[in-house]
Structures are given as C-alpha cells and as structure tokens.
Assembly symmetry: C2
Homo-oligomer: 382 residues x 2
C-alpha cells in the first residue's frame, strides 16, 4: 500500500501525542505491539488511550471508551493500522466504524499478516476517510520487535556490551566489577524490563552467578505505567548441560528456558524451568533455531547479555539487530578481555559494519547505540 496523503501540523501534533501514549505500554503489552490512539473533534481531544496489556482493550477501545458519544464525527489518530481480526478482543476497525468516527489516520499499515491493510479496508469500505504514513518512522520504532517477528519470524535482538573505552570487558584475571558505573547498570535494568527475554550463555551464568532478573529498586525512575513489572523470560544457551539447579538464577521464581542439545534428567529442576532441545550439525545449540523458536513463542524482543564467545557467534550468524555499548572512561590495556570473539578477519573489507544511532552520557559512562548498517533503510522516512 502506498500513501500520498498530505498531513497538516495539527495531524502531526495529534499523532505525536498518540506515539507518546503508545510508549507507556512498552513494559507490558508483549506479545502485542505498543499502540496509542487519540480521538479529535473540532480540534479538541475527546478521547485517548493506549494498549496496556495483552488480552485487554486495544488503544482504540480505550480511547473510544473515554470519548463516549463524542466519538461520533471525530478523527482517530492511531499509531498502527486498526486491527481487522477477532483475537482476544473484537476488531478495532469495527469499533471505530460503530462509534461513528469519520476519519482515521494511521501512522503505518500493520505488517501482521492477519491485518496487513484489511483494517483500513474495513474502514474505507464503510465510507470512512482513511490516511496513513504520518510519523511512520517513529511509529515503527515503537515496535521494532513486533515487526521483526511479523516480517522475518525472528525476534529483534539487542546486544548489550559494557567495556572500557579501549574495548575491554574485564582484566585478564577475569575481574570486571565494575567496569561501568551504577547509572549504566540501572539503565540496563530499564532495557531488561522492556524486553520479552534476556538471553545469555551458561558461561555468564556460572561466572557471575547471575540472576538476570529485573530489580524494581534498581530501575532509574518511576515507570510510566502503574501496571505490574513483567519479568522477562530468562533464556540460557547451555549446550553441555553445565547449569545446576542450585544457581542463584533458579532462586528467582520466574520463567526460564534452557536451550540445550540433550536434557539432563539427573537434575531436579524447579517448575518454572523449561528445557528445549535444538541441536545444530556441530552438536551445539543451533542459535538460529533458538531465535526462530522464541519468535514462535511470541517473543518480540531479546536482550542479549552474553560473553565474547556467544556474542561473537551471534554476530557471525548475523542475528543481532542492534548493539548498546556502555563505555566507561577507563583504560585496561591490551591484556584485558576483548568485547567480541569471532573468527579472525583477513581484510578490512570484512569488518562487521554498523551505523551509530545515538551517544548519550549515562553517569560517568557513555551509552552508544548502533544498528547493523543493512538496517539503515528502516529509518530513512524520517
């Protein structure tokens, strides 16, 4: 679908508001996308809402509920094409139609094959004026994970790395506490809280006896929603069954998935631990299969906090969409541990090329985000 609609500054203002609303759902809507909706009549907002929790009202439903009879004759601004299918809630396109909305502006068409233009068609068939493509890049950025899953059958993987400014994650003797400061570690908690899964390797769990949970008291600020914090599912790659139930990881009662090549039946695992076997031809866990499986389980986003080996493997397999580097103002020197381990390059043509997005100061450290260079076209509309 192509849109050649012309939007004015008011349209942009209301859509920007809808995007702000959508963001409030970012800790809670999974596996659904974050969506915001604003209803405007006579240049006045008569209703607004956002999607909060899967199974509960969509953004449009919440905005219509607020507007009541004022929805009749209003224009709806939605950050995503209204849905057309009966899921856990009835289709929003029908809801908007029934409420007497006269115009719908969607930031973007939904790439969910169950929708994919059908929502807009229901509206336009009902004589409602339809437009889309307003602030599309920002709207897409709300749901990179949801769209990656819909379009590629894979979750959106963000790889977190923390290092000194000379690219070292630890001393040669393994000491690494703490490379980055408290503010950076709080910032990591915020990313974890927004992720469907935290992915790591058995090594990291064993070395740090890591819990990999979201700790509310370590979050940097009050969350923008009153809804309960979700604990991302902790996903561990453990090809050789090195994990044991006595680790700190298993003391937190919250879902864990262990990907392995063979389930270790000698151990007694807590009820919230699930084992999944996916073996590659090299008798290790097949990482691509892991991500496909996670997408099938409706994981939109994966936050990868791994050591140099697993991160390197993921880089090599081109499975990472985005990197978040926390760089500390420290030098560790050449004996320190390197950030990422993949086979030796023999030509500068073969470097893994990224595009820097943003550099922000977090406490004394820097947070630098970068995406795969091949992802660049995603944002060109902005």
């Amino acid at each position: 679908m192509q849109s050649d609609c012309v939007f004015n500054q008011y349209d942009e203002m209301y859509m920007a508001r809808a995007i702000e609303l959508a963001k409030k759902g970012r800790f809670t809507t999974t596996p659904n996308p974050n969506v915001g909706c604003v209803l405007v009549k006579n240049n006045e907002i008569v209703g607004e809402g956002f999607h909060q929790l899967a199974g509960q009202g969509h953004a449009e439903v919440n905005a219509l509920a607020m507007a009541g009879s004022k929805a009749k004759g209003a224009t709806a601004y939605v950050t995503l094409e209204p849905c057309s299918h009966y899921g856990r809630t009835p289709p929003c396109a029908e809801g908007l139609k029934a409420a007497g909305v006269v115009k719908v502006i969607a930031a973007m068409v939904d790439s969910n094959p169950q929708v994919a233009g059908k929502g807009l068609k229901i509206l336009s068939d009902a004589g409602i004026e339809v437009a889309y493509g307003l602030l599309e890049a920002q709207a897409r950025a709300l749901n990179l994970g949801f769209f990656k899953r819909m379009e590629h059958g894979l979750p959106y993987v963000t790889c977190k790395m923390a290092a000194s400014i000379d690219g070292k994650t630890a001393l040669n003797n393994g000491q690494s506490k703490w490379i980055t400061g408290a503010a950076a570690r709080q910032d990591v908690q915020l990313y974890r809280a927004q992720s469907c899964a935290i992915l790591t390797g058995a090594d990291t769990v064993l070395v740090d006896d890591a819990k990999l949970n979201v700790r509310k008291n370590e979050l940097p600020q009050a969350l923008p929603t009153q809804l309960p914090l979700r604990q991302p599912v902790r996903v561990i790659i453990d090809s050789q069954n090195r994990l044991t139930p006595n680790l700190a990881l298993f003391a937190i009662e919250s879902e864990i998935i262990i990907f392995t090549t063979k389930v270790d039946k000698s151990q007694h695992w807590p009820h919230f631990v699930k084992h999944i076997v996916v073996t590659a031809s090299n008798s290790k866990v097949d990482l691509t299969a892991v991500l496909k499986k996670l997408a099938k389980l409706q994981f939109n986003t994966v936050w990868l906090e791994a050591g140099a080996t697993l991160a390197g493997k993921m880089v090599e397999l081109d499975l990472i969409d985005e990197f978040i580097f926390y760089l500390a103002p420290k030098l560790i020197g050449c004996d320190g541990k390197s950030l990422v381990n993949f086979p030796e390059l023999i030509s500068m043509q073969n470097t893994i090329d990224l595009t820097f997005n943003e550099c922000t100061r977090i406490g004394d450290d820097l947070r630098i985000s970068a995406v795969k260079s091949s992802l660049k076209p995603l944002d060109t509309k902005e």
Copy 2:
C-alpha cells in the same frame, strides 16, 4: 591573587567576544598564548584584536590600534592578564595605561612567571580599575598547552587513538586502512594544525611510511585566519636508530626532531632534521626527558599519534593530559590489535581513570574526548 569582582551580563558578552577573537590565533601564535581583547566605551566596541603571530602585536596592541583616540576612557576586556615585561614587544599593561583606558577586566591572571600579577599591578598602581576571573574556565581552555608549560615545565599532550567500536586499531595481519572515515581523518588534520609538535615512534613511521605533516587540502574547512599554516614539528622517538633518510617523512622539508639514545652518524640527514640524545636507565629514550626538552624548546602542545606500545608507555608514565578517541562503527573481533599496551592490571582499582568531556559525530564515526580524572578540577570554575 583572588578576585571577588562582580560582573554583569555586558561584561560577560564582551569577554565572550574576546574569547572568540582569541581562538582565531590558535593555528599561529605558538609559543605565545592565544589572547583576545575588546575595548568598550559607552557600551560600544571601539576596538578589538587578537594575537596572531609571535613577535607581532599582542591582542591589546591590535585592539588599541583599531580604537585610536577612542581608547581614552574605555574598558578593556582581555582573555589573559596584560603582560608586564619587555619581550619582542613592549608591555601591554603600559600600552593600556598610555592609551587612557580606565578599567581592565582580565579573564585570568597569567601563570607565566614573568607576568603573574605584575601586569595587573602596573595598571592598578596607575589608578586604573582592575578586575579578573570572568569566564576564566573558557579563557584557560584557550591555552591549556601554554599554562601546562608555564606551570609544570611540560607540554600539554593529547593522544589520538582511532579504533573500531570494539577497541581494535587494526586486524591481526596489520591491515588498518581505513578504520575511520575521511571526515575523521580530516578532523585529525585540524588537530595537527593546532599543535606545536606531532609525536610518534619509529614503528609508526616505518609501518605506515607516514609523513605526519599538515595537508592544507585535507583540512575540513577554511581556516579562521589568513595567516600561513604552520607545520608542527615532527618529533620521532627512535631508540634504536631504525629511521633512514629515504623515508617519506624526510621528503617534506619541515623541521623534524629525532630523539634517540645515540646519533647514527653513518646516515646523511637533511638540514631540517635534528637529533637529540636522551637516554633512560633502561637504555631507551627517556620519554619524560623528551617532554621536558620539548617544553624547554617552547612547545606548548604535543599531538601524540602513536602505536599501542608508545601510547601505553606514555600512559604508564602519566604523561598524557587528554585523549581523543575516534571510534568507527565496526567490529573487528578479539584477534584485532588492541589500542594501548601497558603492563597487565591485576585489580580493577588500577585501571587508568579518565573523565569523558565530549562525544561528537564526525562523519560516520564518533569522536570522544577524555581527560585524566585528576585534571577534572581545572574546569570546576565553570
């Protein structure tokens, strides 16, 4: 000296103008500091100037020349205490006095022992109102090198490093062209052009057959002065006399100083090449002695473009004041060459601690500046 002067917004505006003027001299005034001067009468600028070239008029002289008879009764804003001594030009404090200036506001007292408050005293003894300490941090930043030399007998050393975001300067096979993009390399030219010396080791010269000169056509923008570009003196550490006169370095006719442990008399060196012997107890070149010698030769600033070994040695000896990291959006992996080589750390307490100043995008790369954490207090007045 302590100042408890109160300044108003006009004072600040005129001093900011004087600082802008001073910056125009940054490619040319060495070994003198950059200084700007603004003369104001009845809230109108009647004269302004900056120091352009050593041996030529100081900022005050140029501003007074522009003001002519209007200087009588004016207030002078100068970024540095007016000089009190007869050097290549007569003392500016006397010039301001003779011109009938009624008030002098200096951003800071000069730490040059030949001045050090004497300039302000001449003025105040003559009944001229004197104040100082306005925008002092910015004024000090104009001349970090000059003050380092005056206060410590050492030049201000800025270490340039270029690496991938995972901290690698080259592939394992030595390939490194190009880690960073053209814009970053242009940016380096601009730093070189502002430096008194470019310091490197014989290794870097031999591996890259580097010329280490300033190439006007590679500078990113028109320079803010019509004065001729200076070529920084190229300073090479060559403990083992590995350099030979046929290298590209020596094809550029511009001063070179080679620090060595013993002069190689078998070679015929061009007339612009000088050898200086400074031997440390380990029979290598004594790097601290090199910097002291450069300060004695009136070098304010040194731009260090060295490999991991020399840079690491300089870090170890605590001889670097500032780092400029150019980070490229690339991953090279753990087999790549590390940024800086110093003895292995055994505790996280021993990391070399820096403070990030600034992060700027340069083309596709990032430029991150950092100073030694111990230097932080320098800027606390701001």
